[in-house]
């Protein structure tokens, strides 16, 4: 196959991933009792898009399974099958198989055994979900007034949505046509790239004509001026009328193999004329936005950067699939679903380049301001430029932030599998999933999170019998939560299981030679042993073998991110693992301080307070050791200049002491010359071009273009701290 085909197929798989996420969220919501039409329609659309794409790429197994699944969803959506817990459960299992099918289509997994799920779906279809109990909450009221057409045609009305037209300027014409015969109206706008993808629209139109269709309108408004016209692209939008007696599936079948970004709309003419608001500005708008920023070419430097940025912005826009057309799922207009957002996929490298360029733009901006006379500086252009660049910077930075939902989304599936494997009943509670975290963090917490969840399900929770015997609810609960505190994010996995069996953990640690036999350990230290390398909980506490997931892997992953793990366990009540992670790997809220005249950035998250020491407030406890008297509390003082080997003979009374709180060493005072400023800085890693340096967390570029080094508080205060053996650090 050609590279182009692979590229297109890669886009399809990305869409599959998104579709699966949407479907899972919807199904989970249904499981939780939210069976509103929007939710069901969302799941239906997702599965339908996957089916459509799979058909186009010849993944027959995936298509067949998705088709069956879609049938059930369609009936549920149409109110013919109540979304009872039993039905939802069947659909959840079907969803899992669907995910497996997608993996199989990617070539990552063998074809899943889907017969059981197919049978279950078939049974639901046959029984109309009747023997699966009463519907949960309010089933969508079947308002359908028109003919009992399958729902796809008129879902908009049935659920009371306001259907949003999809870039069809001529929408009104057919809609206002006489509604006497209730004929089918099909609006078809092929994907721009349809011709190069072997999706010849003519074939589809011929097929429709074979069914008795007549073309009522061809919209040529989207055809660009000749100089922009690409003869390889498809631009037209057809509106066709088909006889009313056709079944809807006859029509939809014709569209089974169109590219996923084509627009196909099928409805009855009898339906009330939908509000035809031309929606959906193309994502390509980004390109023209660049102009709207109105960069005033004040100086050559800024002009260059503006031009360069515009190029980047344009590349990003160009990276999106068909420009000028709308990125909508195949069928179905965007039916008011709250979280249906238009997205555009961008290579992260481009985003980082943009971030760098914007940073540079900000710097140039302030250099420019410094060079102008005060009178010129007050002119309107410059503050305006500064404001704009600041806004661009904020926006670009926010592009990297993503809701942690992305990392959480795979957990429900995992727990369903674990529930089957372990025979335990597990209930998942998730909170704080909208917490926004840097993309880099999200990518890297996936594995630790998986391990923690498995750990909680395997070892934390007891079996139903044990739980009943202990007087607990037979269904165990795992709480997954994320919360932001300052510049840190706390991700918790809490189970209400048996807690850590400290006696056995300690015995095992002694047996494995991790600790000496006579070690005296606090409860916290014993809990930490779980994370010690070579300590396999799988052998000791659980009967589930063959996994051997070591918590030391979790810990090293989290530490690599600059975070740490906290374990809190109460015997009989459960265990909580907390990952404490930096909110972002790219931006830091920092205090600009001077050490021996040189500027450094002190991460504000660590700073408790700043004091100007009175004479005698800093006392020596040894020739090379000092403490500061903080309202009666003696806090050790470190001279950062000495740690860094900088020359500094400034008296401590002329300096400031910044009291910082470190995870490892508690409160420590750092002596600095002065505090210049407080600002958000973009972290640049030193190891990109050099090597990590102990005591430094990276570097940043300040407003004047110079570099300030970022202090790594943990490493600084720990550098002279007593050594704590690996695996025991509290």
């Amino acid at each position: 196959m050609s590279d182009e085909f692979d590229d297109i197929q890669a886009i399809f798989f990305e869409e599959c991933t998104e579709g699966l996420t949407t479907a899972e969220q919807g199904l989970s919501a249904m499981q939780a009792g939210d069976v509103s039409g929007e939710v069901i329609a969302g799941v239906f659309r997702a599965v339908h898009s996957i089916k459509g794409g799979a058909g186009a790429f010849g993944h027959a197994d995936l298509t067949a399974f998705a088709h069956k699944f879609e049938n059930v969803l369609d009936e549920v959506r149409g109110g013919k099958i109540p979304p009872s817990p039993g039905v939802v459960k069947v659909m959840l299992s079907a969803f899992d198989i669907l995910s497996d099918h997608v993996e199989a289509a990617k070539g990552n997994a063998p074809r899943p055994a889907d017969q059981a799920a197919l049978d279950a779906l078939e049974k639901v279809l046959a029984n109309k979900g009747a023997d699966d109990g009463a519907p949960v909450a309010s089933a969508p009221a079947p308002v359908a007034v028109e003919a009992p057409a399958p729902a796809a045609a008129d879902e908009g009305d049935e659920f009371g949505f306001v259907p949003m037209a999809v870039s069809l300027d001529d929408f009104d014409a057919p809609a206002e046509a006489p509604a006497a015969d209730g004929a089918w109206v099909v609006v078809f706008k092929p994907s721009r790239a349809a011709l190069s993808n072997a999706g010849e629209p003519l074939l589809i139109i011929r097929e429709l004509e074979g069914l008795g269709a007549e073309i009522v309108n061809v919209d040529t408004d989207t055809v660009p001026p000749l100089r922009d016209l690409d003869p390889e692209d498809a631009y037209f939008t057809w509106t066709l009328r088909l006889p009313a007696e056709l079944a809807e599936t006859d029509i939809t079948d014709c569209f089974d193999f169109v590219a996923p970004d084509s627009i196909v709309e099928i409805r009855r003419e009898a339906a009330a004329a939908p509000a035809a608001a031309p929606v959906a500005q193309a994502p390509a708008a980004a390109a023209s936005d660049a102009d709207e920023f109105g960069f005033v070419p004040v100086s050559a430097g800024v002009e260059d950067f503006a031009a360069e940025m515009q190029r980047v912005v344009e590349t990003i826009a160009a990276a999106s699939p068909p420009i000028g057309s709308v990125e909508t799922p195949a069928i179905a207009p965007k039916a008011g679903a709250g979280d249906a957002q238009q997205t555009i996929r961008v290579d992260l490298g481009k985003l980082d380049l943009l971030l760098n360029l914007v940073g540079e733009l900000v710097i140039r901006n302030s250099i420019l301001a410094d060079r102008l006379s005060p009178a010129d500086r007050q002119r309107v252009e410059l503050p305006e430029l500064a404001r704009l660049t600041r806004q661009i910077q904020d926006n670009v930075m926010s592009l990297r932030a993503q809701p942690i939902k992305q990392a959480f989304s795979r957990v429900p599936r995992m727990l369903r599998d674990l529930s089957v494997e372990t025979g335990k009943q597990i209930n998942l509670e998730t909170t704080g999933e909208t917490t926004e975290v840097d993309k880099g963090v999200i990518e890297k917490i996936g594995d630790p999170l998986t391990h923690m969840i498995r750990n909680a399900a395997d070892h934390g929770l007891e079996s139903a019998e044990e739980r009943i015997a202990a007087g607990k609810d037979p269904t165990g609960t795992i709480k997954l939560s994320a919360e932001q505190k300052g510049a840190r994010i706390f991700v918790r996995v809490a189970d209400n299981g048996r807690g850590i069996n400290r006696e056995r953990v300690k015995a095992k640690a002694i047996e494995k030679g991790i600790i000496p036999a006579d070690a005296q350990l606090t409860n916290e230290e014993i809990d930490q042993l779980i994370c010690a390398p070579g300590f396999s909980t799988a052998e000791t506490i659980s009967n589930i073998s063959g996994r051997g997931v070591g918590m030391d892997v979790v810990r090293s992953n989290v530490e690599a991110l600059g975070g740490r793990i906290e374990i809190h366990s109460v015997p009989g009540e459960g265990t909580t693992f907390t990952m404490i992670l930096p909110l972002t790997l790219a931006i830091l809220d920092g205090m600009i301080v001077r050490l021996a005249g040189q500027r450094f950035v002190l991460p504000l998250a660590h700073v408790l307070e700043t004091v100007q020491p009175e004479p005698g407030q800093v006392k020596r406890t040894a020739p090379d050791s000092e403490v500061i008297d903080m309202r009666g509390e003696y806090v050790p003082v470190k001279r950062t200049t000495e740690i860094f080997g900088l020359n500094d003979d400034r008296a401590v009374e002329d300096s400031l002491v910044v009291i910082v709180e470190s995870e490892g060493s508690g409160k420590v005072g750092l002596v600095v010359d002065t505090i210049d400023d407080r600002r958000e800085v973009v972290i640049k890693s030193l190891d990109q071009n050099l090597h990590p340096i102990r005591g430094l967390g990276g570097a940043t570029i300040l407003g004047d273009g110079s570099i300030a080094l970022i202090l790594d508080i943990e490493a600084l205060v720990a550098s002279t701290n007593r050594y704590t053996p690996k695996g025991m650090a509290a």
């Binding site: 050099l690 090597h691 005591g695 570099i707 300030a708």
Partner: protein
């Protein structure tokens, strides 16, 4: 340029001086030449790393090339400049005394450098003689020996690994 005009000029090198020596690096490795500007010093690094500087949003180390090669450290003067180069997938700035010229040399003109008894592999990839332009426009017929630097051998981070 050279007296042997029959050789194929298949490499371009940038020549620069460190003290009395003339060195050359492959043109393809060069990113840019900038004026000397005091870099931000780094703590806990070997002395030849002068610090880091801002190169269009990238934090790039500035290396005292003379010290790195074992010569006397360069004194900073008006013509000191920084050669920014690609080195093993990273970027680095070399402090040099003066950038001289860009010359084309043929592979056949490169002579091997003598083996030196050191722990690390030699960073001099070869020697080549070029004729230099004098200030009065005449050519120096004796030419100058250029030491070609092997940038791949000139690892900066390996040194740091040892120092860290």
């Amino acid at each position: 340029m050279t007296t042997t005009t029959d050789t194929v000029a298949d490499r371009k090198i940038v020549t620069f001086s460190l003290g009395a020596q003339t060195f050359g690096i492959d043109m393809r490795a060069l990113i840019e030449i900038r004026e000397w500007e005091d870099p931000t010093p780094l703590p806990n690094v070997p002395g030849f790393i002068k610090g880091v500087t801002n190169l269009r949003g990238n934090v790039v180390p500035v290396v005292g090339l003379a010290e790195r090669l074992g010569w006397e450290p360069s004194a900073i003067h008006a013509r000191s400049c920084i050669l920014v180069v690609h080195i093993a997938g990273k970027q680095a700035g070399f402090l040099v005394d003066e950038v001289n010229d860009i010359v084309a040399i043929g592979e056949t003109e490169i002579q091997p450098a003598p083996e030196v008894e050191t722990i690390e592999p030699s960073v001099i990839g070869g020697l080549v003689r070029i004729s230099t332009r004098q200030k009065d426009g005449t050519k120096d017929e004796n030419g100058t020996m250029v030491l070609l630097l092997d940038l791949d051998a000139l690892s900066l981070t390996k040194h740091l690994d040892l120092a860290a």
